[in-house]
Symmetry: C2
């Protein structure tokens, strides 16, 4: 853990510069707008250690798969997140000497990520090797108002003497990825030009042939007044640069306003791409830096209006949750069903792909509560559009008859991952996708989506489960062999309780949905049955048989659900018996030792109990929680949030709070010494779940919102807004009371501490806190 950054409710603040932390800070201070994003790389040259990163949503490179030993069924490529052309670069030289924080003496340095307004700024005073002292002040943003644009204001002031300043704003397509399997270059360069105050380049990804066009416009101001410095142009393959030279008096301030646009063939015809880029840039320049910034701020203001969680009395927790909400909203805006939420978002290359089951299991619960239903609907449509590829993927593995296995990692619907124990066996992901449909429908009430799109996915997933089970003559039950659960510290196990549970739940939900569809929309159902060649009699009969005769491992002596067959053959040790020098296990132990131990990366059974909580009484939940929590090492960033929700459910608030703090500040405090690779974007959503479903006890039951608020002792209050089936509520929890305000224009029913309340439009109820 690493208490390096300042605690502040709305900002992330770095005071002083430490080159060794630059890669980490580049991750933490990343900015994005859903369409593109970038690490907090410096604008000016930096010769120290840096991971350059600009990323464009949906644009990837299919990097030839690297394996030690090929297994039948492995994919051909791994979709890599691509470092895209650099649009933010502005090189600066002072009296012929390059401004480079790796070679300057730094008198002061302050970097601020303003999460309220969505801006990244940096102020420093540096002494160049020649002794010249300059003060620099930079601010940049990627517009949420027009996400194809962004701007930088870069100001420089010589502090001790007059200087000759040369500034070189540039665009550079000649970029590389650190994460490449075969050291290949991912781009070829199509176009470059520079004229007047503008420059343009177009680069194309190899193999996938996405075109990305970048444009920049530069304006110079001297002490706030426009100056007409003569632009000198240079452009070459993949590169466009403009040079301005100016004699700058001591204490006067030169400002470069670099406005840029980045457009891609995802959204524009290739042959019009240059033209469109010029148009977009022209509009942005016409609007001007201040107006662009204000429009951007307004979007952020609206986002915070719906998604903020205000915590009083605990600035660390406050900063942590806002950091997570901020990054999730930077990464995904929900307006394009071709896009999804990568595990590192726009903050790094690692893990490639864009879509893991994280989206369904962790991100959707956040977007359901904080954004319009269309946002989650687009995330579901993303999978709907990939259904054909999921069916193909299952066929490759030997499944038939329209069975679908969604990929573990994907960009365009094709599987990218290649570890057999994950790719072929971590099949619970299929269940998470089914559950997300259910979760969306129960939260939004959108039965129409369920019948029109969801059911087709459910049938295909149910077909997969139906073929993936087999009858055990030994157990006289259906079993599921050779799987890996969410607990990836067990591989190739038989009868993972979570997977078996999710499989039968999917079958049941699909059957129920079919019944509903038959009643609500018989002709729509008929069309679907024909399209999917669904055998209403035989297939449903088999599903019912599987539901009735599925085997679930159970440990009689402890009265708990057993993670998998044979788990109790392991030596049973608890985490508190582990020497702290042994942790994290994934760094300290060999892989076989991890596999043979009873320690759990993230607890499958608890994940299942979290999803299907209604099925279990408190004693059952408590017994399972105690058993598995004591064996869980939380070495997945997705692990703690589920434990927070269950611990809160069991009124173990101290434990819940401890786990919450760790997960909410995972990246800010760099618990795992890996933030330099990028942020854990998808697991950030788990901390939202931890507060809303954990501390506030939010549930959905029979179409109504339920709350059972509790509060960590340290907090004075916490409050948030929630969107539910078109209603807008505000929930405020303080020491003695809970206030729920209905901000909708219609009354809303809620259940708080097991009591029903019907809250009239634009009014509140105040309820005494239940502290039992």
């Amino acid at each position: 853990m690493n208490k390096y950054l300042k605690v502040d409710p709305w900002c992330i603040i770095e005071e002083g510069f430490d080159g060794k932390r630059q890669r980490s800070s580049e991750s933490i201070f990343s900015i994005g707008n859903g369409k593109m994003g970038q690490r907090a790389n410096f604008e000016e040259q930096y010769t120290g250690s840096t991971l350059q990163g600009t990323y464009v949503a949906g644009i990837y490179y299919p990097d030839k798969t690297k394996v030690g030993w090929w297994k039948n069924g492995y994919p051909e490529y791994f979709a890599k997140v691509l470092n895209a052309p650099n649009i933010t670069g502005i090189n600066v030289s002072v009296n012929g000497e390059s401004l480079d924080l790796a070679t300057c003496r730094i008198e002061s340095f302050r970097r601020v990520l303003d999460m309220k307004e969505g801006t990244l700024s940096r102020d420093f005073i540096a002494v160049l090797p020649s002794g010249i002292r300059v003060s620099v002040s930079v601010m940049r943003f990627l517009s949420l108002d027009n996400p194809e644009t962004g701007a930088i204001r870069y100001g420089i002031t010589p502090l001790d003497r007059d200087c000759e300043i040369i500034v070189n704003p540039y665009l550079d397509g000649n970029v590389v990825n650190e994460d490449t399997n075969w050291n290949e270059i991912f781009w070829k360069q199509l176009h470059h030009e520079a004229a007047g105050n503008e420059g343009y380049i177009i680069a194309q990804t190899l193999k996938t042939e996405f075109d990305v066009a970048c444009g920049m416009h530069n304006e110079l101001l001297l002490n706030g007044e426009t100056v007409n410095a003569k632009p000198v142009h240079q452009s070459r393959t993949g590169y466009a640069e403009i040079t301005y030279s100016i004699r700058l008096k001591k204490n006067s301030r030169l400002e470069i306003i670099k406005t840029f646009a980045l457009l891609s063939s995802m959204n524009h015809e290739k042959k019009r791409l240059l033209h469109d880029t010029k148009q977009v840039l022209k509009s942005a320049v016409k609007k001007g830096f201040t107006a662009m910034l204000n429009a951007h701020r307004e979007v952020w203001s609206d986002i915070w209006q719906h998604s903020d969680i205000v915590i009083e009395g605990d600035d660390e927790a406050q900063q942590g949750i806002r950091f997570n909400i901020f990054h999730l909203n930077q990464t995904y805006r929900g307006d394009d069903p071709r896009l999804n939420i990568g595990p590192k978002g726009f903050t790094g290359e690692k893990y490639g792909g864009s879509t893991y089951w994280d989206t369904e299991a962790f991100c959707i619960p956040l977007f359901l509560c904080t954004a319009s239903a269309s946002v989650t609907r687009n995330l579901l449509l993303y999978r709907y559009k990939h259904l054909d590829k999921a069916i193909e993927n299952a066929q490759k593995l030997g499944f038939k008859n329209g069975a679908a296995l969604y990929p573990m990692v994907t960009m365009n619907g094709e599987e990218c991952h290649n570890e057999w124990e994950i790719t072929f066996e971590e099949i619970h992901r299929n269940g998470a996708i089914a559950f997300a449909i259910y979760n969306y429908v129960r939260h939004t009430g959108d039965d129409k989506y369920l019948i029109e799109y969801g059911l087709e996915v459910l049938i295909a997933i149910s077909r997969f489960w139906s073929q993936r089970v087999n009858w055990s003559g030994d157990k006289m039950k259906y079993v599921i062999l050779g799987v890996t659960g969410p607990n990836e510290y067990e591989n190739n196990v038989n009868n993972n309780w979570y997977t078996n549970t999710l499989a039968t739940w999917t079958l049941q939900y699909t059957l129920e949905t079919i019944e509903m569809a038959k009643q609500i929309d018989p002709s729509g159902y008929k069309r679907l049955a024909e399209k999917t060649k669904f055998n209403d009699v035989e297939e449903t009969a088999r599903w019912k048989d599987i539901i009735a005769k599925m085997y679930y491992p159970y440990l009689e002596t402890e009265e708990i659900f057993l993670q998998q067959d044979g788990y109790m053959d392991k030596e049973q040790i608890t985490v508190n018996q582990l020497d702290s020098g042994q942790k994290p296990l994934n760094q300290k132990w060999s892989w076989d030792r991890i596999l043979r131990s009873c320690f759990i990366k993230q607890a499958d059974v608890l994940q299942g109990i979290y999803l299907f909580e209604d099925r279990y009484d408190t004693e059952t939940i408590s017994r399972n929680y105690d058993f598995y929590e004591s064996r869980t090492v939380h070495e997945s960033s997705l692990s703690p949030c589920v434990h927070v929700v269950l611990a809160a459910r069991l009124k173990k608030m101290e434990l819940a709070y401890r786990l919450y703090l760790r997960t909410s500040r995972l990246d800010i405090d760099d618990y795992n010494h890996e933030v330099h690779e990028g942020l854990h974007i998808t697991s950030m959503a788990g901390t939202y779940m931890a507060i809303i479903e954990g501390f506030a006890g939010k549930r959905v039951k029979e179409g109504r919102l339920v709350f059972n608020p509790q509060m960590p002792p340290k907090w004075k209050s916490f409050s948030f807004k929630i969107i539910f089936r078109g209603s807008h509520l505000k929930v405020e929890v303080s020491n003695n009371r809970v206030v729920i305000t209905n901000e909708s224009d219609h009354s809303v029913e809620v259940i708080v501490y097991d009591h029903d309340y019907d809250i009239a439009e634009n009014s509140s109820v105040e309820i005494l806190r239940n502290k039992s």
Copy 2:
């Protein structure tokens, strides 16, 4: 299967040339002499598809490991078998046109591997594109008499007209490997020279820095008489060539005798390497081609004297077994404990490394019967010398206190393999190494080796088992979790019956050996106990406890040993229910489907019953055999031989013969369409086992040889010699009788069909065949 080559008892014969088969023939016709070996690449230029391969025993390149996803404990490198400098090259041009079988019309072509004499020859008539017709006749060998040398006699005759012939014998160190993880070159070139009729190069492996020196001497004969053609020299980095031009009359024969030497820094000081190479070459040239060849033939004659199996009435079977015995003896000569037997020997690059458990499980049984005890002793010493590295290897995985885990694949004792389910989990290899010590001792009676060397290895392996088991509170037994048995179509299983059985057997044998050592050599034992810090009380007590309380899965309903926990949860289908289009599974099915199916690559339980046959009555063996044979797809080349031995034991001779034929001609008939990659050298030994232990029923019981001969119906007779505890016996099995001749100078006791015979020196017993 592929009946392409002619059936002949002593030769492998290819009639006619098919470029598509060249890579396969290059494998099959490979020659070697234990120190070096080479694929049957053509001497002259060949621009068709070819895998060039010359290999030097013990010389390897540590190729940086390639993995998809790194796991803790993986090794840094994979030792690759190295394609070494080409010593056989002789380019030929006729009237300025290159002789190249890829561009000529071929009128006749015959390639012969003479297994009796160890020579490779080739005779062809080719028409060059210009229409010139030439007859070529080539013969080469790698001397077994002086394994640092070899020679080629290359004769060429123009058939229709006089021609200008240019011959270029050369040495070429600028060679590449097809099997390289990162497309690296493995050699750097140190020296080259050419003068007179001689040329020399020295190349050095990168990283490992082995020096290999090659020398050649060339002599030209015209119609059998020496000619003094003027040599023109060319040498450059890694290359030395001599050019001879000669005007050759129609129907006259030009012969080039290329004598070569290959020496390495394994056996010579680097600074003397060039000098020594020149000396070795000089001696060889002085000896002359014919004398070299005769000396080489004599060694082969001696090998066949001890190791031949003569089969009457079945030329296919005869050719098959001789092919296998021939290649094993070419690959390993048993005089250097630094060397071992690679899975492809000197016939290809694939699988790298040199040592797998194949050596202990399959090759040692052959060498025990056919060669001096020192040969097997050297194979055991190889592992003894690697004990420290095996202890280090175990330490990396978290084991302590001198526990050893021998590597799955190795060159110098370090692990090379990197699939977690194999590297970390296929630990039965440790048991195979222990069993080989026992097998050696029971066959040779060499208790001295056991106490001086073997016991130290046994203690280290026993320590591994003792730590690798854990106590299951659930079963109240010791269990072994997370293993892969010899059946690699199951991974990461619990309580593999074979592994558990081998583990306790090792503990038991180690305990017995300790007791013996204490009695026979108390001071030697004391030294060993001190060296290994062996705790005589605590460690042996734990071992006894494990032996007493080990868990072995058992299937009550079928009364069979169960391959592993949970096996009966699988859908139980037998191989004959499998559609033939589904086989081989490893090509037709996805990996997860293979893992989930009940089909067995090679049967663990039967392997265990084979090793510990004495423990089980015939009914038990029969029940297990029937159950597992029906589920085994034999997709490992190591699988069928064990089934042959057991089938013969159960008097299922028809099945035994069918499996035998397939395995003995696996490579000649290219059953698996992969012979182009090289031969299955180590599994060849299994076919020897199949005849000797299967058909002849050879066992060792209480220090005596046991035979229970049977014969496949098709055969008229079979006979072989066997070396046992210093005695030499000949066994002849014919339709009605078994004759055993004692060729030793002392009497020998044997048991045939359960009767004891004491055979006087140099005399025979004749026993009627037991055909029950």
